[in-house]
Amino acid sequence: MKDKLAEQLLAKVLGWTADEVMKERPRLQAAAAYKYDGYQQFEPGMRFVESLAQWLHQFGDIDERQAAYSFVMSRLVYISSEEMAHLVRTAYPDYMKHEIMRHAATQLGLSPYRIAAISASKEFHVLRRRSLFLGLSDGAHTDLLRRANRDEIGHEQVYPSHEMAPGRAEKLTEKLKEELASPKLLGRPPTIDEATFRLVFLLDDFTGSGITYLRAKPDGGRDGKIATFMDDFKQDGSPLSLLVARDADIYVVFYVATHRAIEHIRRQIESIEAWSEHLHIRVCHRLPESLSITAERDPDFHAICAKEDYFDPGLDDVHGAVGGESFRFGFSGCSLPLVLSHNSPNNSVAVLWSHEDTSFPGLFPRVPRHGEVGK
């Protein structure tokens, strides 16, 4: 739809006067150009203003439409691909490198603030080479991480998955031995213990509840990506167990995470004594609790989200059941007003991300990961 037609539809849907058009049109155009038109799951040819007009048109009356519009313009949080890329690029120098330096400082017996001395030391360089970077999903953007830090991290330290194939683990070990032996690092062949990765960084882009990463099972065990990794790592003879040192420190690094998710994962880790000493969580950009949509903070929009007319029950499926609640207010009731440029997270309220073929398509329709399409 041509932009002009979309704007006309929007003005009609909201009942704007010329003064209101004059005030809102520049804001909308700026927001669309700067961020929202970049949403990757719009249909071909679809742009933000058109999606907004069609979305608002679904609401029953003018008050609801205006409340929804006001919510979008003042409360929506949209992380663009450029912003996510910025977090990826800065994750190593701002967070991971600090951990490596801290460990090196401990080895050297130096205070952590002696950064020049630490970064010039062989201990630091060896430890940096003995750091492994694994992606927990495509969102980890391990390719971008590596390219942005090519002077610090080599190709043989980065792998896009936390599930390691045996052949790959062997190759990584061989390369590690070779480089550690170079004069710049140990200057001699490494011992068996030395030829393992001492630090592991598990990377992912976003978590809203933390549940998919670590959760308790009815039998007392743990499930989720972190649990899968730890189980694999602790299993004798597994590729990971041969690749990673027994006393390795594992850092789970999220580029974006909610306060709730961080607390959940932290509690789960602390509840397992065997993990708590060596498993840590780090977050580049924390989303505060106050971000969530509540009846107190956002009464009008909360009421809209709660309405039956604006939620397709077909969205609730077995995957949503893992969160323990309906998807109406997002997975596990996270109730977020969040959109990520590559795909809306299902932790956000459903009115924002409902699939295109549901009874109430969302403003930024989500492509489901698990193949569920509007039952």
């Binding site: 932009d3 002009k4 704007e7 006309q8 003005a11 704007w16 006067t17 010329a18 003064d19 058009v21 004059m22 049109r25 520049p26 155009q29 700026a30 150009a33």
Partner: protein, 632 residues
């Protein structure tokens, strides 16, 4: 999508699109430049307050723009500009013949003064940096002019008969583009490193230069591309000259004047940051050694010129912003009040004025007869109401002359000034629209094209909004006035904040505006249509200027604030001869007139003394925006 409000885009500084720049450029401003050969051999200094159009004027001569213009020469949108540039000698037989090379003095130069270098060394290093940057700019422009690639094709450029001692150690028959490039890059790098290090190291390769040799080095007959003369004319375009310190500017300007090179130099500087003496001296002595163009003065000599210029700029931008649906911006602004829209107010005004006139003429047979004979009949149109109010002003004037009341004297016929005063009084008393129409919009812009664009942007945004809602007509006078009022206040506030002494400027201009207002709203409108300026005797103005030269005195601070206000176009200066005396009249920027409900026409002013202005600088007088916090 149509461009996002093109009235808000500043093409002069957008390097990405020469075609867009050309499309919105109006050739009318070229009339301000000196005519004939002088433009291509002398130093031309272009001055204006911010937003006057200096940078756009310089950019016009750059190779990318001229080449784009020649490519589009047959298109209607570009024909008049092409013709003007052909007449100027920048283009000939459909191709560019003048090559402009542009540099900006906005960065780095000023910092050389902070290095604490002794004995004029800072100026010499400034000249060295200028030489390096002019060289690089000319090399870049030369390749662009030739349609070649910079810096890959530098080897195809050469300079013959080169007198450039700092480069070659003396005279050289030939210097290649690559030689010059290497020298200039190394020189610039070394100087910038010196600035970064805040000191000139003993082992530094930086040397100062005594002359701007880069300009005569690249005279048109000496610069060759593939062995042939590249351009018939070369002009070095120096923008943001106010970015230099006073000492740097003086030294370089003297040097440019004495150069006598076949390569022309156009120099653009903002009026605001000129040395105080320069601002006060403007117009006082003829310029023999160089040409000076004051853009605002050019428009003020005949304001119809600015109106034509603004119309041309506005139509181009309106077309761009509406996919060429809107061909005339002025046509979107209703030139008259819609009597139907304001019928209620007109009715109230009509009734009120009839009552007032009847009360004041009661008991005087002559006046009663005059009233009966002259007052307009219904319907109460805006014209009729205006006439009534003008009658009241005439009556006030007559009643003031007491002898006129007793003798049989009829009030004179209407004069234009009284009619406009009547319209203004109706605006303040009954809130009938006054600030509307394209002509008045141009007047509010005070001959500054950027101010015009900022005001027009609001109106254009509303026009687009109206069209989006399916209303295709013109903006009513009421809507125009509301938007112009909002925009003018914002413009005025922003301009004040750009002055180095915004609080004192606010006090001074606020007091001046109040003074003008009091004089304007006197019932008999003695200075119809109203007072919008103050006049200083030429000798007093001279006293103020002297205090700048002395570096002290009673008027030093006043001079600084006045200079800033003139430089920012907050005050518009002109010289008038009145009753055998010379006066310097300072008019308020017309945006202040909107804020203070003053008329827009020039002409009405009142004399004040310099000591009054000194008082007006002080706090305690009303702020320009009543209700805002008072500053101590």
């Amino acid at each position: 999508m149509s461009m996002r409000n093109p009235f808000l885009t500043r093409y002069s500084e957008d390097p990405t699109s020469d075609a867009q720049f050309l499309r919105t450029y109006s050739p009318t401003v070229l009339d301000a430049l000196p005519q004939g050969d002088r433009l291509w051999r002398d130093l031309t200094v272009i001055r204006s307050s911010p937003g006057g159009g200096k940078t756009s004027l310089l950019r016009l001569l750059t190779p990318g723009v001229l080449r784009a213009l020649c490519a589009y020469q047959t298109q209607d949108a570009y024909k008049d500009l092409f013709a003007k540039l052909t007449g100027m000698g920048a283009v000939d037989q459909g191709r560019p013949v003048a090559m402009g090379a542009m540099i900006s003095c906005a960065h780095a130069y000023r910092h050389l003064d902070d290095l604490g270098l002794a004995n004029g060394l800072a100026v010499r290093i400034t000249i060295a940096l200028l030489n390096a940057r002019i060289t690089l700019a000319i090399l870049r422009s030369a390749l662009a002019f030739a349609g070649a690639v910079y810096p890959d094709d530098l080897g195809r450029l050469e300079v013959i008969d080169a007198h450039a001692e700092p480069i070659t150690g003396g005279h050289a028959d030939r210097l290649t583009g690559e030689d010059l490039y290497k020298w200039a890059v190394a020189s610039e790098r070394a100087i910038c490193r010196t600035i970064d290090e805040l000191a000139l190291r003993p082992d530094s390769p930086v040397i100062g230069h005594d002359t701007l040799f880069a300009i005569p080095l690249f005279e048109p007959d000496k610069l060759l591309f593939n062995g042939e003369q590249l351009a018939e004319r070369i002009v070095v375009l120096i923008d943001d000259f106010q970015g230099l310190t006073g000492g740097q500017r003086t030294a370089i300007r003297d040097m440019l004047v004495s150069l006598r090179s076949k390569t022309a130099v156009w120099l653009a500087e903002r009026l605001e940051l000129l040395d105080l003496v320069d601002v006060f001296a403007v117009g006082a002595k003829p310029e023999r050694d160089w040409s000076v163009v004051y853009l605002e003065s050019h428009w003020q000599v005949d304001r119809r010129r600015f109106r034509a210029f603004a119309r041309s700029v506005a139509d181009r931008r309106a077309g761009q912003g509406s996919d060429d649906e809107i061909v005339s911006f002025a046509a979107c602004l209703c030139p008259n009040t819609d009597d139907d829209e304001v019928s209620e107010v007109l009715g109230q005004a009509w009734t009120e004025l009839q009552k007032r006139l009847a009360a004041r003429t009661q008991g005087n047979k002559n006046l009663e007869e005059w009233l009966v004979e002259r007052r307009p009949s219904p319907p109460c149109t805006s014209g009729a109401v205006r006439f009534l109010r003008a009658m009241e002003i005439r009556l006030d004037r007559l009643l003031q002359k007491k002898q006129g009341v007793l003798s049989f004297v009829q009030p004179d016929d209407e004069q234009t000034g009284i009619r406009e005063a009547a319209e203004l009084f109706l605006h303040t008393e009954f809130h009938l629209p006054y600030y509307y129409g394209f002509e008045r919009l141009c007047t509010v812009a005070s001959c500054n094209i950027e101010q015009f664009l900022r005001l027009a942007a609001q109106l254009f945004e509303y026009v687009l909004s109206d069209r989006l809602l399916g209303k295709g007509g013109t903006l009513s006078a009421t809507v125009q006035e509301r938007l112009i009022d909002e925009a003018a206040r914002t413009v005025w506030r922003n301009m004040l904040q750009c002055t180095p002494h915004p609080i004192e400027a606010s006090h001074l201009l606020g007091s001046m505006s109040e003074f003008c207002r009091k004089e304007t709203v006197r019932p008999s409108a003695p200075y119809a249509p109203g007072v919008t300026g103050i006049g200083l005797r030429d000798c007093e103005y001279g006293d103020i200027a002297c205090d700048i030269g002395r570096g002290g005195g009673a008027y030093r601070h006043l001079a600084a604030v006045l200079s800033e206000c003139i430089g920012q176009n907050l005050l518009i200066r002109t010289r008038i001869r009145s009753k055998s005396e010379e006066w310097v009249v300072l008019y308020l920027n017309r945006a202040a007139c909107v804020r203070y409900s003053l008329p827009l026409s020039y002409g009405g002013w009142r004399p004040v003394a310099a000591k009054d202005l000194v008082q007006w600088l002080r706090p305690g007088k009303a702020s320009l925006f009543p209700g805002e916090p008072q500053h101590a």
